[in-house]
């Protein structure tokens, strides 16, 4: 980067800006290609299901005439590439098609189920961040001690436990045996009538409209599933925090700060953590994305009406447009998170700046 020294400050800014723009354009182009690949991939998966898609729609007892009519309606008599072209051109106009099972536009369905997952994954990530970062910092500061070992074991267990099993055991213990927490679902039945969530984010809507009893009920319901997801996210975040912190703590400026006589707490939390923050953003973003995956099984266990459940049931029902739409949405969110962390990294990381 030494050759940039001959530029003026303004020139450098311009250069940095141009670099950022090219970077964004480049990543966007990659994103578009990836999206196209995603579409091709999901589409071909959906068309090779060993289940008769017409059967899934008309049922076992329909007459042959009914069957033939629906076969044509679904466009299955056309060659595969025509079907793909039709599908892709519809997608391009934002039309995800219609779910054969919910009888809604897939787009509307996704709009309905996504907030539930979003809420769950967000709270889960929050828990992961709030517990994971301090744990990781501690482990790094007390490297090699029992604290470090403990955080390592907690982290590795997080990687090793199947989430569906932990969820079932959690329900069994905290709901069935101890009665500390409510059962599956987002709200108690009593509230499902009195409360209508506008945005689909129950916690947010309840707090916004000041219905605190609903808010607390929702809290109680989300606690267990979010804590489970949070645990997994904590496992990842704490491990990564530890290694970033170790990296920072070995830097010269820390030694300088120590020599200057700054308090250890200040050095760690103010200086080292601040610098480790940049790569941490990426880590948090990635763990957020992986919670989407974790939510597939969690939602099943907790009867959580979110994207994961929608995806599973449409896959099982060979509801192709719905399954494709949901899979694409997951892919897009994933891609978006990756891109975002990429861009953030480029913007903030001193080495790439």
């Amino acid at each position: 980067m030494s050759d940039s020294s001959s530029y003026t400050t303004a020139g450098m800014r311009w250069l940095a800006f141009r670099r950022l723009v090219t970077a964004i354009v480049k990543t966007a182009a990659v994103a578009v290609i990836t999206l196209f690949g995603l579409t091709v991939f999901t589409f071909s998966i959906a068309r090779y299901v060993p289940t008769d898609p017409v059967l899934a729609v008309v049922g076992d007892k329909a007459s042959q005439a009914t069957y033939d009519r629906v076969y044509k309606e679904m466009g299955l008599d056309k060659p595969m590439y025509v079907q793909f072209a039709t599908y892709a051109s519809r997608l391009a106009t934002g039309d995800f098609g219609k779910s054969r099972f919910t009888q809604n536009q897939v787009f509307d369905d996704l709009k309905r189920v996504f907030p539930a997952t979003f809420e769950l994954a967000t709270i889960g990530t929050l828990i992961g961040v709030l517990l994971g970062i301090p744990l990781g910092v501690l482990a790094a500061v007390r490297r090699g001690t029992w604290v470090d070992q403990l955080s390592r074991v907690i982290g590795l267990i997080g990687y090793s436990v199947p989430i569906f099993w932990l969820g079932l055991m959690g329900l069994l213990i905290f709901y069935a045996y101890l009665d500390w927490l409510p059962g599956p679902g987002r709200l108690d039945i009593a509230y499902q009538y009195t409360f209508e969530s506008e945005t689909g984010l129950v916690l947010f809507d309840a707090a916004r409209t000041g219905q605190w009893d609903v808010f607390f009920d929702a809290c109680r319901h989300i606690l267990l599933p979010a804590a489970l997801l949070g645990y997994f996210s904590m496992a990842y975040i704490s491990r990564m925090t530890r290694s970033f912190m170790l990296n920072e703590l070995s830097q010269e400026y820390i030694t300088t700060a120590r020599v200057k006589g700054l308090s250890e707490a200040r050095i760690i939390w103010r200086h080292a953590l601040r610098n480790a923050f940049v790569p941490l953003i990426t880590v948090v973003a990635l763990s957020y994305g992986s919670l989407l995956e974790g939510s597939v099984l969690t939602e099943m266990v907790f009867a959580w009406p979110g994207l994961g459940q929608y995806l599973t049931s449409s896959l099982m029902n060979t509801d192709m447009d719905a399954a494709l739409g949901a899979t694409l949405l997951v892919g897009i969110v994933f891609l978006f998170i990756n891109l975002l962390s990429d861009v953030l990294y480029r913007v903030y990381d001193p080495r790439t700046r």
Binding site: P50, T51, D52, Q103, L171, G183, G185, D188, I189, Q309
Partner: protein, 529 residues
Amino acid sequence: MKKFQLFASVAGLALAASLAPVLADTPADTLVIGQQIDDIITLDPAQVFEFSASEAIGNSYERIINYPPKDPTQLYGEVAESWTVSDDGKTITFKIRDGKKFASGNPLTAEDVVFSLQRAIILNQEPAFIINQFGISADNVKDTIKQTGPLEFTFTMDQSYAPTFVLNCLTSTVAAVVDKKVALEHEKDGDFGHEWLKTNYAGSGAYKITQWKANEVLILERNDNYAEPTPLKRVMYRHIKEISAQRMMLEKGDLDIARNLDATALDAISSNKDITIETGPKSAVYYLGLNQKNATLAKPEVREAMKYLIDYDAIEATLIKHRGKKLQYFLPQGMMGALDDAPYSLDVDKAKGLLEKAGLKDGFEVSMDTSNAPTTMNVAQAIQQTFDKGGVKLVIIPGDSKQTLTKYRARQHDIYIGRWGADYQDPQTNASTFAINVDNSDDATDKPLAWRNAWAVPDEMNKLTKASSLERDGAKRLEMYHQLQKGVNAEGPFIFLYQDIEAWASRAGVKGFIVGPSTESNNLKKVTK
């Protein structure tokens, strides 16, 4: 740091509140049912054929004819007041009850009834075949189903079918009466309001369907225009996929009724005095279909031997306890013509003898396509164990139900284990699939279960099945069905296992629901809690 403290205190508060005692219990005016409702794909009576939706239709629409849930042979007119059959037996004239009203407030007349039947035929969805079998199709429906007065219409068939057969068909959901005015208000491209009705309601039953969120909730509410208003304000079906979750929620009082508990859960919960279990036999049979394209399975001795290699009693006492009972003929108990003896039981020696006679002393290997529903899978495994004793090595090929069905319909299976539910409470519904197959070629137009198993049904049996739908003498008709069932057992490729039983586990205070022989006859109109 301040922000963090604020956040921490909010989070702490939320956590503390979360652990506070539960307010629990369901609202007093609402019945909360925990059920797997992910089978619902539509709420239009002209299309509904799925369990959960049929039940909703049964409680929210009125049908032309109906029967008391506990005795399907006692037919009565629900929308129809009376009917007369013409001398040639081909035309039935129905009179409609006066003064009936839809939930919308519109009066219910013969015009609505004719509209409902005609739209079902023209839309030609899955259940249309129930009316099609009387020679009524989209081409002739305007002439065969005709309004003849404000409260009168005629129903004309191509042959003089047994009246009970016809009336039984008119108890199915396809004969539910739709509010013509409301449906046409929402018509799009001449679809008789089909798109709209898939997610909406236009009926006259005890409840109205007010909300359906797929895989989440289905809500019925009291219809104040109904003659006898329901005691409950609303019924709420909550989609709870997991059996164990249904079980725990019922125990905790988060549900009033749990619908999908399996044998083991029911057995365990039956000792809980806060819970009662109500059962009702369904008109559905579980059976094995043996593909006759498989040379081994085509041998009569092999088919018979396999019937002696199933421990019906052990399965009944364990895996399907509360949820099924032994049944060895194609007609379920409760239906006219059902037989209640059990000619087969586990007899390994006898089976071995038969296999030896078939030249299969050392046994053989055969596969079974099995849907991965837990109960079916469990029963299949139990059969696998006893088959093994006779030297028959059974390979279970699991798949989800639609996948195994796809294979079955294409006749690519060896053995298929499945459930067959009656479409209406007349024996012809099962006879016309188990005991008839006029054309056994691969491209036949009619593909009954006998066809799916490549069984070329003997001519006399085909004729007998046809004749039994036309026989107007009740006693003779009964005798014909007895004969058909014995014939199928002797020559057919089916092994009948058990009859489905529906079991509802409810909180002890919940009273008044009736489990009928079909899902649409499950009755919630008098439920109190």
